[in-house]
Subunit: 195 residues, 2 copies
């Protein structure tokens, strides 16, 4: 039982990296076999289908990415520090990703939005949670008068996530930290209460 | 000869839509056969390999997307109007995409950055050209004192492209125009010279 659970967890972890770099649809069951070192039966012993494994792997990837973000947020000195930790987190991702392949939310969003309804539903919920977290951090920073802005918390959240995800995409494809640096500086300046 | 060229162009067009919605690696040659109504031989008669077709289809998608953007830019009243046309263009994309599936540059960037070096090279060049276009529009608007900003043209370009691509991704996955609306308003306000 314990060994079975271990094997299952290990398949999920290895599949999460495979799917986050190569994509769900582009990864064949042969790719999963190669990544895990298991035979087909050894994989389907633990999962009903490739879609079932893909869903579990996405949940795992989101959990890992979320834990990495939250540990940085929670280390913030105050409300503003916790909000700005989201920016720091994105700037650290090219050199130190939560899992190989970049942001699993953006990767899955781009892959699923026209072609994979099952996964789109899951990524919608994951982005909802991410937006709500940043909105809450922004609301706290405003309430404690640590940032000075006319923007509402919801607008700050959407703007930060859009800008940082777009800059991460551009930094990754161009192999340079410049877009994330410019995006981070801009967002800090936008929200920075002078002093 | 003309008929052969027509068939070739038609395959490229139909494959471009297929690849932009489903992805390159996830689209099998059977998917291309289904999209084009041709047999395998009829496709490989025109292209050396699936990669060859993928490259031609990407070039076509970038050309179509670029023409749509440029026609809007060129209709701008002045330098500021031409720069802001980039924002209007992105805001129009969910309802009126250049081709189905969203921005071919972002889609291809996300798919290729960890797994498809041939295509990553092509998307790097396409983003370079896009960045240079927006940088040129920003430089003209600054020179003609139509926008008021401390940002350099290169920074404006990177910030606009990151924010708009990220907001397009979020708008598409969440089925709402809100992220693109907030991103557009923010960028206009950031660059708007009062009056």
């Amino acid at each position: 039982m314990t060994k079975g659970t271990d094997t299952r967890e290990k398949i999920i972890e290895q599949a999460a990296t495979l799917f986050n770099t190569k994509g769900y649809s582009a990864s064949s069951i042969n790719d999963v076999m190669e990544a895990t070192g298991l035979k087909k039966g050894g994989i389907y012993n633990h999962f009903e289908s490739k879609d079932d494994l893909a869903c579990k792997a996405f949940d795992y990837a989101v959990k890992i990415a979320g834990e990495k973000l939250l540990s940085r947020v929670e280390a913030g000195d105050n409300a503003k520090g916790r909000l700005f930790a989201v920016i720091d987190h994105f700037q650290s991702l090219p050199d130190n990703p939560a899992l190989p392949g970049g942001c699993p939310l953006m990767n899955t969003a781009i892959e699923s939005d026209d072609a994979y309804p099952l996964m789109q539903k899951k990524v919608q919920k994951a982005f909802d949670r991410f937006q709500q977290l940043v909105e809450k951090l922004a609301a706290e920073a405003i309430e404690q008068k640590q940032i000075d802005t006319d923007l509402k918390p919801e607008e700050i959240s959407i703007l930060m996530i859009s800008t940082l995800e777009g800059a991460l995409m551009l930094s990754k494809v161009q192999n340079t930290s410049v877009p994330l640096k410019i995006a981070g500086e801009h967002l800090r300046k936008l929200l920075n209460k002078g002093g």
